[in-house]
Symmetry: C2
Subunit: 218 residues, 2 copies
DNA sequence: CTCCAATCTGACGCTGGCGTCAACTTTGAT
DNA sequence: ATCAAAGTTGACGCCAGCGTCAGATTGGAG
């Protein structure tokens, strides 16, 4: 609890470092509370689904009180959004990496699905959230910026692959929609019927890879 | 579930004919009220979506009163279920016909998607309902018997086509899930981005037809 | 140690939607 | 024309969940 108040000293330092715990008790609980609410969100949304969940559920589960909740988030949607954003922020770089590391189009398609499925279905709570709140997930996802970015990146990749002749030419927007939508859909249904993430990813990869081949090149 | 009370009279007649209006005033309003509620449901669900809709909305829109509503349906879910069932009851025979009339696997796949898309997206209210209540639609659909039947028929067809060698062999359950899910998904997203039902159906047909080819035959 | 500001708390009032039911209207049989 | 049964009506009581705010608590600067 000091580090920075002594301005003379910190002059050139600080702003970058966040590690050595210059965290005051205040900031600590603040962080802890926020985390508690988000954790509660993960559990509650995974448990009863977004629609059925109430702010009170989150409050109860977080161990805080209603007033405090509203100090951190304006409503349950904000919590949900944050959770979804978190997932997408994790997914995006994974997809970028899958693209960068794969040598051909086939590899890219397969690896991208593998990354997506791993990210979305890897963790049990996340999986449950996806299963029980598909629609909320979808609408949150579609008006947030993360998915727009993700979809843009994907579409761009698809288009440049098409242009380069590596992949045939198809309606990129529809294909993007299909890939994202089908992943969510088959992910949920597939795991409901007991398929492993690997099986699901392989299935999706095969389906889309060949599916794309069905479109005539320009 | 009605029209039979006039047992003495109808002796030889009735059950088949519904036209000549042997309908008492009583039965007439009964039918009219039920219809009014279902119509209200179509409009309301299409307008604000299932989750946001309230029984009061249905009541208001139908022009009846709360008490009357509860004479016909126990809650809004029952109304929604009925509407969904209606759609599926229409879809099922269309799919059967598509299969019967098509000469090869390619035709079957394309025609089936065309039929599905036409049924689901043909009517504006239906389209809106699908767009705004995807999740409710999905869950209603998945615990109702109609989709089970539909999915079973589809899976059976796919499996026998696989066995006959007309189509390659693939995980039929996953493929079924993918086809149904992707249709809903791409249908909603595609129409949101202004694609016509035809374009959507063609896209889906092409994607899946070639997609299936990617799986090795046994 | 003192004290202000930041933060937490939970009881409170409010809203909106739910399902009911006693009173009323309509139907159709006699 | 009469009347019982069927059906309709909407005001009513109820309750879950919301967001707030006055007062209690806590952190940390002096």
């Amino acid at each position: 609890m000091n580090g920075e108040t002594s301005d003379a000293v910190g002059a050139g330092v600080s702003t970058e470092r966040a590690e050595p715990a210059p965290l005051g008790r205040r900031a600590q609980t603040k962080r802890a509370n926020r985390t508690a609410i988000l954790d509660a969100g993960r559990r509650v949304f995974a448990g009863v689904g977004y629609d059925a969940a109430t702010v009170r559920d989150l409050v109860r589960e977080s161990g805080l009180s209603p007033g405090t909740f509203y100090n951190y988030f304006p409503d349950k949607q904000a919590v949900f959004r944050e959770l979804v954003d978190e997932i997408l922020r994790e997914l995006r770089p994974r997809l970028v990496r899958a693209r960068a590391e794969s040598i051909d189009a086939a590899g890219f398609v397969r690896d991208a699905f593998a990354a997506a499925v791993a990210t979305l279905l890897g963790d049990p709570d996340r999986f449950a959230l996806l299963q029980r709140s598909t629609s909320a997930f979808r609408s949150c996802v579609f008006d947030g910026e993360q998915l727009t970015l993700l979809a843009d990146e994907l579409r761009t990749d698809l288009e440049s692959a098409s242009d380069a002749g590596t992949l045939p030419s198809f309606p990129a927007e529809l294909m993007t929609a299909a890939m994202i939508g089908t992943t969510i859909e088959v992910g949920a249904l597939g795991s409901q019927m007991g398929r492993t993430p690997d099986e699901i990813a392989t299935f999706l990869g095969t389906l889309f890879l060949s599916g794309m081949a069905g479109f005539v090149t320009p």
